[in-house]
Symmetry: C2
Subunit: 348 residues, 2 copies
C-alpha cells in the first residue's frame, strides 16, 4: 500500500461536509422492513463510500404522503431520486409494467441476468428516458407465493367467481379465467379474508406475509406463478445526474445496484426464517401447487394478455420479445442447473 | 440537488492523482473470462467510485507466476489484496475449505444468504483473521455440472475404478464410493479424456466448459451435486485495511461485494448462452441425472467426510453446524419457492 498526501486542504469547512445533497422519496412507510430499511442502507452506503461528499435525505411516504407519486416526484425534479416498483406506474406509461416481474416469467437471478447482461436495463431506460428518468435495479423479494386461499383449488371451475386480492398483470390473468380480482388496502386485508369478503389474497411471501397473520386464518398456501421475482427500482432525475461529476454518478448507480443485491439476499433470508416461524406456530399450514389444468388455463390467459400488450406499440412488442427469448435461453440453463440439482438431491 | 463547494484545493498535485495505491494478485491467466475480467472490473469500479483517489494495480498469474500463492501473498503483505478461491488453501489452513462450496450444499443465492445474513462471512473472517487476512465474497460460477462422462452411470458399481478429474471435497466424496479422483492440468484435460487416460472430468459448467471442447468428445453431461454454488473470494491484508480511512475500506469491501454479484450474474448469463451454443453445435449431448442409488451413496460418503472434518476442531464443527442448519432453513423456503415454481410451470 502506498499512501500519498496528494491534496492540501485549506480554507474553512462549511457546517455540512457534503458537496452534493440529494433528496430521495420511496413508496413505503418509514422503517418498513426490507423495502424501506434497504433505502436507509442505500443512503448510508453512499455517504460512507463517498467519504461524506454525497448526502441523501430520505423521505418515506409518511412524509410525502404519496406512495404512488414517486414517478412524478422524480420526473418533475421535486425529488432527485426515488425508490418504488416500476409496475405501479402503468397509468403514466404502460411500458413501465414490464420491469418488475411477469407471470410465468423469470426468477430473481434469471431476471438479474436479463437486466444486466441481456439488455433488460437498456430497455427500461429506453422507456424511462422519455420521462427524464434514469433507472437502476432496486432489490428483489425473491419468489412471491400464489397466495392464501380459504378453499382448495382443484379445477379451473374453482376459480370462477373467486374473489381475490391480486393486483397488476396477475389480477388480469386471473380475470381471464373467471376469477374476480380486487384491490383492498393492506390494513383491511386480514379482516376481509377472515370475514369472507374475499376468498383469497396474495401478498408477498413468507418474508412479509408472517407479520400480516394470514396463516392464522387461511388453510392453504399456494406456490407461486404470477410474480416469480419482483424487483423494485431506483429512479434518478436525468438532469440531476447530468450535472453530477462522473464519480458521483458512479457511486449513486453502483450503490443502488449493490443495494438491490443486498435486499434480494435479505428477502431470501427473511423468507427462510419466517417460513420456519409460520410452520412452528401453525404446523398445519397446507402448501399446495395449483393443478396442471389450472396452471395451463392461467398460462393461456397470460399469453392472450401478452399478445394484446405486444400489439400496443413497437416498443412494447420489442420488450415482450426480449423477455420471452431471454426466458427461453436462461431457463434452458436453470433446468439442467439449479432445478436438476434441487430435484435430484431432494431426498436428504 | 444542492452542489456546495466545500473544499478549497491548494498546493500542487503529484504525478499520480491517487492517494492510495494498492497491489492485487489473482489466480487466473490475464484476461481469463469472468474470473479474471471481473477483477479488472473491480479495479475500475474502485477507481471510478473513489474519484481516482484509490488505484489498484492488478497482477495476473502470468505476472506473479503463482496461481495458488494468493493466500501467502496477502498474508505476508507482498500484495494488499488477492482474489482466488478459498478452497485452494486447505494446505495452509483446513478451515478455509468450507468457504467456496460444499457437496450437496447451498446454491449461489442460498449461500449468499448464509454469507451475508446467516453468519457465514463472520465465520470466514474468524478463520482468516488468524492469518492477518480479511475476506469478502468474490463472485459465483452458479451451479457446477457433475461433469463429462464417456459412459453412462447406472449404478454405484459403474463408479468403482472410474478415473475422474475431480479435485477438492468432491474428489474425496467420489473416492469414498470407489472412484479414482485425479488432478490433471487444465491444458492436458481434453487429450486425457479423448485418449481414455481418464473416464470422466468435471470442470465448471457451460459458462467455461464450452471453450474447453469436452462436448465434442464425451457423450454424457451429468447434472450437479458436488459444487452447487462455487464462490470466489477477495482477500485483504488486515494491516493495510487498518491503516486506511473508513471511506476507503468501505469502497474496497463494498465494491468487492458488488463485483461478486456482477460476476454471479455474468456466470448465469454465460452459462445460458454457452449451453445454447453447445446444443446448437452438438444437439446429441445427453444430459443425465445420476440415479437415486448413486446420489444416495455419494451423500453417505459426504456425510462420513463431514463427520470426520467436524471432529477435527471446535471451529470446524461450528462451521459445519452453521452450514448444515442454514441449509435446512433456507432449503425449506427454496422448496416451496423457486423449486415449486420451476417444476409447476415446466410444461411451457
Amino acid at each position: 500500500m502506498l499512501l500519498a498526501a496528494t491534496i492540501m486542504v485549506c480554507g474553512v469547512l462549511p457546517l455540512s461536509a457534503a458537496e452534493i445533497t440529494l433528496k430521495l422519496a420511496h413508496s413505503w412507510p418509514k422503517g418498513f422492513p426490507i423495502f424501506a430499511t434497504s433505502v436507509d442502507e442505500y443512503a448510508e452506503l453512499v455517504s460512507e463510500m463517498s467519504d461524506g461528499r454525497i448526502e441523501i435525505k430520505v423521505d418515506s411516504r409518511n412524509k410525502h404522503k404519496s406512495a404512488f407519486g414517486i414517478f412524478d416526484f422524480v420526473k418533475s425534479g421535486q425529488y432527485d431520486i426515488g425508490q418504488s416498483a416500476s409496475y405501479y406506474y402503468g397509468g403514466k406509461d404502460p411500458d413501465t409494467l414490464f420491469f418488475t416481474t411477469m407471470p410465468f416469467g423469470m426468477t430473481a437471478l434469471e431476471q438479474y441476468a436479463w437486466f444486466h447482461e441481456g439488455g433488460g436495463l437498456e430497455l427500461a431506460n429506453q422507456v424511462y428516458d422519455k420521462h427524464g428518468i434514469e433507472v437502476m435495479t432496486g432489490g428483489n423479494t425473491t419468489m412471491q407465493m400464489g397466495g392464501w386461499f380459504n378453499k382448495e383449488i382443484n379445477s379451473v371451475d374453482d376459480l370462477k367467481g373467486l374473489k381475490m386480492r391480486i393486483p397488476g398483470f396477475g389480477g388480469k390473468v386471473m380475470a381471464g379465467v373467471g376469477a374476480v380480482p380486487t384491490n383492498i388496502p393492506a390494513g383491511e386485508l386480514y379482516q376481509a379474508l377472515e370475514r369472507g369478503t374475499i376468498d383469497a389474497l396474495e401478498w408477498v411471501g413468507p418474508s412479509l406475509d408472517l407479520r400480516m397473520g394470514f396463516h392464522k386464518i387461511a388453510s392453504y398456501y399456494y406456490t407461486g406463478w404470477h410474480e416469480p421475482g419482483t424487483e423494485l427500482m431506483y429512479f434518478f432525475n436525468k438532469e440531476t445526474m447530468q450535472e453530477l461529476p462522473e464519480w458521483a454518478r458512479s457511486v449513486l448507480l453502483n450503490a443502488a445496484k449493490l443495494t438491490s443485491f443486498n435486499m434480494t439476499v435479505q428477502s431470501q433470508h427473511e423468507s427462510a426464517v419466517n417460513w420456519e416461524s409460520m410452520l412452528t406456530e401453525f404446523p398445519n399450514i397446507e402448501v399446495r401447487d395449483f393443478p396442471e389444468e389450472v396452471i395451463e388455463a392461467l398460462r393461456q390467459s397470460n399469453r392472450a394478455l401478452l399478445a394484446q400488450e405486444a400489439s400496443r406499440s413497437e416498443l412494447s412488442k420489442k420488450i415482450i420479445q426480449s423477455q420471452s427469448s431471454y426466458l427461453t435461453l436462461v431457463r434452458g440453463w436453470t433446468n439442467i442447473g439449479d432445478r436438476a440439482y434441487l430435484n435430484n438431491i431432494a431426498g436428504q
